[in-house]
Structure formats: structure tokens, C-alpha cells
Amino acid sequence: MLSTFLSQIANGLVLGSLIALIALGYTMVYGIITLINFAHGEIFMVGAYGGLASMTYLLPTVITQRWYFALPIVLVVGALVSILVAVAMERFAYRPLRNAPRLAPLITALGVSVALQEAVRVFYPGATAAIPFPDLFIQGTLIIPIGDGVPIRYTGILLIVLSLVLAFGLERFVERTRMGRAMRATSQDRDVARLMGINPDRVIVLTFAIGGALAGIAGVLYGSYLNNINIDMGFQNGIFAFTAAVLGGIGNIRGAVIGGLVIGLVKALGGQYLPGGTAYDYVWIFVVLIIVLVFRPQGFFGETERVRA
């Protein structure tokens, strides 16, 4: 009993830190330009495919067989691919609509999402079905000796640690650096920020790039942990991440991480203990999403209720 519970907690934490990584991108973009970037989930997906492509087609076996070479390279490639797509998306899809009414960018985001998903399905060899993804970290499972033993894979541990480190680093970046200050200024008032000598376009591009990088890393780690990737992974996990971002108070970095962990736990524990089992674990997340949006749209850490037109 206890070890089942604890291993579900472990599963939840792994999934949760993954979702947190994606949620950071959502929360930052929303914080800066109040856009629900629906296509952010696809950025995550593209990163996974980019990483896999470098693994399958680019790197020699000398490297792919040694995880300490392969892992950093694949992570970087995944992040780069995601950054590229995210920045291009901002430039060509969202920037022309920056002064358009609210519905327009949201619908554009839907279009970008569908297009990216389909582009991968059509052009990536074999992407019509799930593709196996190699484990990029130390193989095997750590058994934490509590009760009957709580198994957690080393890749899962890597995922948790890396997510927390990246989130912490991002928070330091936003709080402590000049560029971070420019981001906060732009998010508060773009026009005044411009008067203060900040170039909002650059800040927005940087925001998309950082969000893309984190999503790309998350994509590679996702593949490495679950050992297969498919084109639907972006949409699903994107919605989870959005839920997490709202749950934590959108625009708030720490909130996104905690929201992500909560969502991960809800999915893992809900699938174990709530009626319907794993077939309904998605449903519970959506229920949480609805409840949060209806009763506490500012989330855990949101300060004031946004008046949203």
C-alpha cells in the first residue's frame, strides 16, 4: 500500500517537473504579452523530434553510446530546434497580430499548433506512429528502500533535478539580471518600458526563445523517460502545462513549478485511486483546470484578480 502510494508520488513528481518545464514557457509568454500560446506544447514536441533526429541521423555511434556525451548534445540540439521554431513563430504568426483583438492571436495559435503537428507528421520519417526514443541517461532503476521499495528510474531523477535547477536559474535570471528587469518592465507596461529605452521586440523574442529552450529540453527528457514519442504529446502535455501555469498563478515562475508538480501528482494519484483508474486520469486534470479557472483564476500565487475582457 505504502509503496504503491509512494511510487505514484514519485511518478507524479517526475511528470510534474516535466510539466513544470513546459509551464514556464506558457507563464512567461503570458506574462509578457498576455497570449495563451497554444502552440507551446508543439514547441515541446518539436524539441523531442529535433533531439531524436540528431541522435538518429547526426551523431556517430561513438557519441550516442556514451550518455555523458550524447545527453548534453541532444539536449542542446533539442533546445536549439525549439528555440528556432518558437522565434520563427513569434516573428511570423504573433508579431503581426500584436495589436489585433484578443480572439485573433488565440486562433492563430491554434493554427500554428495544428500546422506544426502536421508538419512533423508529414515530414519526419516514420512520425505517423509513435517512434522509440533511446534512454539518454544511466539505464536502470533506483529502488528507494521504503516499505516494499519505491522504484524510480535514474532518468526520472535527472528530470526532477534538471527541472528544478533550470527553474531556479530562470528565476534568478528574471530577478537579478538587466535583461530580466527589462522583461519584468515590459510585462508591466510595454509602452513605458519602451520610453525607458527597452526594446520590447527584443524582450519578447527573448521570452519566446527561453520558453522554447526549456520546452525543447523538456521534450528530449520526455522522450528519454518514456522511451517513445508521438506527435500528440505536445497537445496533451501543453494543456497540462497550461493548467499548471494557471494553477500557480499565470506569470509567476515559482507558481508554474508548483502548479506543475501538483498536476503531476493529480494525474498519478488520480489514476491510482479515483474511480475509473488511468483511463480517466486526463479527465481529473481537466476537472482541476475548470475548478481553478472558475474559483481561483489568479491561481495559488497570483496577487490580484485580472480583469479580463
Binding site: 489585433a100 492563430t108 495544428v114 513605458v192 520610453l195 520590447p200 483511463a279 479527465v283 483564476p297
Partner: protein, 587 residues
Amino acid sequence: MSATTEAPPAAVAAPAPPRHTGRLAGLMNAVAPRARLVAIVGGILAIVGSQLPWATFVLNEGAYPELATLPLGFTGFRLHLVVLGLATIVVAVLRVPAVHRIVRALGIGATAVAVINGLYITAEGGGLGAITASDGAVAFGAVVALIGGVLIILAGAAGGVEPRPELDWALPLWIEWILLVVIFVLMLLVVAAGLTSGGQGGVVNPYSGAVFLSFLGAAGGAFAALNASGLLGYVATLSERHRVFSVIVLLVVALGLPLTSAGTEYWMTVASNIGVYAATAIGLNIVVGLAGLLDLGYVAFLGIGAFVAANLSGAAASTIGIHLPFLLVMVISAVVAGIFGAIVGSPTLRVRGDYLAIVTLAFGEIFVRSAQNNIGGLTGGANAIPNIPAVAVGGFKFNDSITIGALRLPSGVMYYVLIVLLVAGVMLVFGNLKNSRLGRAWIAIREDEDAAAAMGIRTGPIKILAFLLGAMLAGLAGAFFAHKTGVVAYDSFRFLESVTLLAAVILGGMGTIPGAVLGASILFVLPEKLREFSDYRLLIFGLALVLIMRFRPQGIVADKHRKAELAEIPEDAAKEGPGPLPTSVAP
């Protein structure tokens, strides 16, 4: 008979050609003084091009249609080109009002025909060799027609595009009525021709997509030209003036589709499916177009209606096993869907804008997941609910064919009649709602919710009512859908379907009836026609969504109020980027 047209600008003695700036300015300024001449030359080239051979040999996948390998022929796209070219020449010679605007539209049509056919021939026929000369025969049809088309566009653009003339002829009543009947019948024929052009597509008929697209290009150009001349606007005024009459005529004409070339079982099925999505899109239009509430899980209501109907139809797979008459089933489906609509809409009391969109998306996903897991044994899960019996009145089954004297109507025709009546009913509901107190309240909420509340509109119940009514219309369509297709599976109601419906509403034009129908038709006919691109369908769809939002957010048929709302916000439109500082700061 009095003509209150503005004086045609061409009647003014030698209007000064406009000066162009920007890209291509030099070329445009060179063409401007002799724009009409260039247009005439372009028209002649288009006609000449149409009569040259287009393909030099029988292509990889069989002969290209419309005798494209032979010189001289007046069928299919060649006929379209001749008509477009002749029209250009006539318009340019006669100097009708808004000549350049018309010419530009015609040129776009001719260019589209040339490009589409040329591309297909080169792409599907084995490279450029298919379109250029070989064994002495000249096969430059596509090239010549393309040059002609581009010249016409150039002439139109360079000559200075005039504003659209507003025609307002007052004719005797009976002439206006006859005009309307004739126009609607012509429209029916065009629709039937468009629907059937190129045939069914697939392996047997590899070039059906080309024929259809080419037809679409030609028809689009012709319609744009009619629109530019103000004639289309006149027809709109006319039908507005005789509203009831035109609605009746339109209904009768729509029911006449089985009598045209589209009167086969296949096309009846296609038309019925379009009808289902058109009815659903109109329902969605209440929520999105009128009340301005973005619903990303709307197809769930179609699904709820369909599953309710499936369970009450006496299908063997349904666990309830009740068989009720179809009309009753429709009512129950609509009511159940409406109840769910109210539930889904209830968060609107607290949630606004894109958060609301996410809530509706979440509801939609919950529906799909539940249906996939066969919740309560009601949805059949992955097995779906198959073998739903056809609608039967007395001993007559709706999917039988009908024989009236010598006239044999294809099977499925009764379903078509039913869906036409259903869509007409839904349109009626929508039209009346839009112009009612309730409709005005919705529009007020869409424009500014707080201001609407301040004006005494009870925004909460009224927003929920939008969801409820929209969901009921979808539920009606769902009941029909269940009986028509005979099988209801959760797969038909995924998120992508919601997005497609939303795209139909947006593409057609939010808040308008013709827009929703047009959008649904386009989005559900195109995949049917372009089977060979089915791999790229969604990719193109996604990109199209992005492009529409970028270049024509108001859709094809723009709503008058909506147009104003979607205009860019001027105060924020200050120059982006590291330019000079804006002179005024947005409040």
C-alpha cells in the same frame, strides 16, 4: 426604370492615371496610361492560351482532362479561360464603371486557372517537359494563359482600383422577383457544377483535384468581378428588399439540387454532411459570432446529440434499447445537448476571454475521454454505436431511392431534403435571434461586457442562454448525423473537429449566416475533393488559419458590426521597434 448610379468615372474626359509608389512602382506607372490596352492584350492572350495545347503527351496517370493535349477546344477550364478573357476584353472596351477593379478580379481568376492547371500538369505529368514543347507540337497553353492573366491583373492594379459602385435600380416588383429567381437558379447550377466538377476523386480519377480547384479559381474570379461591378451588392440589396420571397425561393432552389448533375447518392451524402456541419457552425456562430464567447469544445454538443439519438434509435448496440420516433428523438437530443450547453456555459459567470476558451476546451476533452471510455455504457467506447436504423416514416425508409413517374431520385435524397429543412430552420432561428432583443444583448456583451451590464443587460443568464441555444442547434444536427451515417463514434468529436468548426465560422465571417454555411461548405468539400493531398490537409488547414487571421480576420462574408470591431486598435498601433519614440502614450 431609373438608374441612380453614380456617373461612371470613365465618362470623365481622360482621367489622369494614378501615380504609384512602393514596390513595382516603375512598372505600374509605365502601364497606368495604357491600362485598358494592356488588359485587352491580356484577355486576348488568355483566350489564345486556352486554345493552345496544354500538355504535350498523355501524362503519367492518364490523359489530362478537357482534351488538354489538343489544340482548339471549348470544354472545362479552356471554356472558363475563354469566358474570363472575353469578359476582360468586353469590360475594358466598354469602359463600364469600376473597370479596373473588375479587370483585376477577372485577371486573378484567369491566373488561378493557368497556375493550377499548369502546376498539376508539370507536377503530376513528369516535370516541365509535360508543359513545354516536345515533338514539334507547341504546348505553351499554360504559359501563355499565365502571361495573359498576369497582364490583366497588372492592368487592373495599375489603372487605379476604383471604389465599388453602389447600384440601386428600382425595377417593377415582378421583374425584381423574376430576377431573384433566375439568380438563385443560376447559383444552384454553379454550386452543382462546382460540387461535381472533377468527379469523386481517388485513384480512378487522379486529376479531379485539378479540375475542381481550377473551377474554384475561375468561379472565384467571376464572382469577384461581379462583386467589383456592384452587381452582387445589388442582388444583396434586392434580396434584402424581398426578404421573405428570397428565403422561400432559396429554400425551393436548394431542394432542387437532386435534380441537377449533383443528383447521385454520393453527392447527396456529401451535401448532407455539409448540411450537418453548416447547422452546427450556425449554432457555434451564436456563441462565438454573436456573443463573442470563444468555444473550443463545441463539437461535443454535436456528439452529445448524436449519442443521445443513437441510444434512442433502437440500435442493437445501445444499452437502453428504446426506439422513439425520429422527431421526438431530435427534440430530446436538442434538449439534452442544451442542458450540457448550459452546464458548460455556466463558468461564463466568472470566467472571461481566453480563460473561458480553455474551460470550454477542457469540457470538450472531458467529453471525448468519457466517450472513449464508454461512460455508463452509453457511447460504445472504441466500438462506437453501429447499425443505427435509418429514419423511417410509415414503411418508408429515408435511405431508399424514390421514383416519381419517370423521375428516379437517388437514395439519400430524403436525408438531403431533411437536412436542407433543418439548416433552413436553424438559419431562421439564428436570423430571428440576431435581430431580437436577445441578439442585440449578445452583441452588446461581445463589444463590451461591462458597458452592457451598465446598460441593464443581465449578462450572466444571457451568456448562458447563448451556450444553451447554440448547443441545442448542434444537438439537433447531431441527431440527424447519427441517423444519416448510421454509426456514432467518439472519434468524430475530437478537438480538431471543434477547431475545424471554429475555422468554418471564422473563414466564412463571424456573426453571419451565409458566412457559416459558406465556411462549412469550403472546409468540408475541399478534403472530399483533394484526396490526393489528404496527407497535407491539416498542415494546409493550420497554415490557412494563420493566414486568415493575418490578412482577413473578418472572413469572407464580413459582418457590418464585426468589421468595426476587428479593425486594429489605433492607439496601440504606434510604430513598433526601435523607431522614433511614439508621440503619445496609450492610456
